[in-house]
């Protein structure tokens, strides 16, 4: 690891101040950033640890919206009674990320800021039509993920929380890489106040909405309605784990399973 200076600010303003230095970087759970630093794939002059900023942690619900602080761990989302009762699909998704030790450290803010094409949370954020809150503004899910490992966040912008509207129905299914548990393909389907969303992670460079499936489910919310819909897979990821064509096939299968999970 290249050397850096470690900071642990206790409030958001101080963190924002430290991040005006464009060589500085936020560290949340460190489950992606620390391995990256160890491999010397990145170099930062300063690391700004957000773990002492109390307002970034915790889960609340008001007026049909579940708000999850950016520093809330995957374990806390998975074990939250509130999430389990309002959005069980989200609690299930969090429990499928990596392994126990990754879930004990990794955070929702870190996961979506990183925007790994195979990460699970992007499917939830887009599929449930969430809003990402930062120390500067609110960003809608559809505008947040812009490309592989790219988001709408500006330099030094800090995610503070993610708000999920409580869906009428939602389900998540993923075909996991058996070694890492990252999604080879993961699909979140949700029906929220008359709107149907289908978000696909793992298949392409970035999470995307399968609009043909959304239309089919709006007419008939059943596994049969999506099982036979093939998505165009020419641009999909292709690697030793799965070809683009196979990922395309998995999207239809996972979409059908997600609908079944939604009940």
């Amino acid at each position: 690891m290249y050397d850096f200076t470690y900071h642990k600010p206790s409030d958001l303003n101080e963190a924002g101040q430290l991040l005006t230095n464009d060589e500085a970087k936020v560290v949340a759970g460190g489950m992606t950033l620390i391995p990256t630093l160890k491999q010397r794939l990145a170099q930062h002059s300063d690391l700004v640890d957000l773990s002492a900023i109390a307002e970034l942690n915790g889960i609340t619900q008001t007026d049909g919206v579940v708000r999850i602080g950016a520093m809330t761990t995957h374990s806390d989302v998975h074990h939250s009674e509130l999430v389990r009762s309002s959005i069980p699909a989200l609690a299930d998704l969090a429990g499928q990320i990596g392994d126990v030790q990754v879930r004990n450290r990794g955070t929702i803010g870190g996961s979506i800021a990183n925007a790994d094409p195979a990460a699970d949370y992007p499917a939830a954020v887009v599929g449930l039509g969430a809003t990402v809150h930062t120390n500067q503004r609110d960003i809608s899910a559809d505008d947040f993920f812009t490309a592989m490992f790219e988001t709408a966040l500006g330099d030094g912008e800090i995610i503070t929380a993610v708000s999920f509207p409580v869906p009428d129905k939602a389900g998540y299914a993923k075909f996991a890489n058996p070694a890492s548990r990252y999604a080879i393909v993961g699909v979140m389907v949700a029906h929220t106040q008359g709107e149907t969303r289908v978000a696909v992670t793992g298949a392409a460079g970035s999470v995307f909405r399968a609009s043909e499936m959304e239309q089919a489910l709006a007419d008939d919310f059943s596994a049969e309605a999506v099982r036979s819909i093939a998505v165009a897979s020419d641009e999909f990821n292709s690697d030793i784990h799965a070809s683009a064509e196979y990922r395309g096939h998995l999207v239809s299968v996972m979409a059908a399973r997600a609908v079944m999970a939604a009940g």
Partner: protein
């Protein structure tokens, strides 16, 4: 750059002056707690698992600076005096190890599991040990050991 931190290590108040970029796994081993193993050093094998404030974490993916003010338990902190911790004893009884390299991490993860689920079934055990890789045993005896260790933990 260095940073001064104080934390509990196996119940003992500990002060350290460490490089900002030092990993907890390095600090523990340099301090003599060599039961914490470094296997992959890429966050995957679980040989380095310790507890921070009671939760199992991979110490190769945590900065020493991040445990300031916290309580860290390593494999050395489990046993009192001569006696093994019941989970260690169960691994011994059930031949839950061969080379033993993965064992400290396995035991630390297993205890975190039992703290959440005092009567884990096989599926839960295999799920909770997802982050711990063993190249020797084939896992069956580890699962048996954890099941028995959970029962023995109730008796102490």
């Amino acid at each position: 750059m260095t940073v001064s931190i104080s934390f509990q290590l196996n119940g003992t108040p500990t002060q350290l002056e460490v490089p900002d970029s030092q990993l907890l796994s390095e600090a523990l081993r340099q301090g003599g707690s060599t039961g914490t193993h470094i296997g992959c050093d890429t966050s995957q094998c679980g040989a380095c698992v310790v507890h921070v404030d009671g939760q199992s974490v991979k110490s190769c993916t945590l900065l020493t600076a991040q445990v300031d003010g916290k309580s860290v338990t390593t494999i050395e902190g489990l046993a009192n005096a001569e006696d093994m911790h019941p989970m260690q004893q169960a691994f011994k009884n059930h031949h839950g190890l061969q080379c033993g390299f993965c064992t400290p991490g396995m035991v630390m993860s297993a205890i975190d599991l039992v703290n959440h689920h005092p009567d884990p079934d096989e599926k839960q055990i295999r799920e909770w040990l997802e982050g711990n890789i063993c190249r020797c045993t084939g896992y069956h005896n580890i699962v048996k050991a954890v099941q028995h260790g959970a029962q023995m933990m109730k008796e102490v």
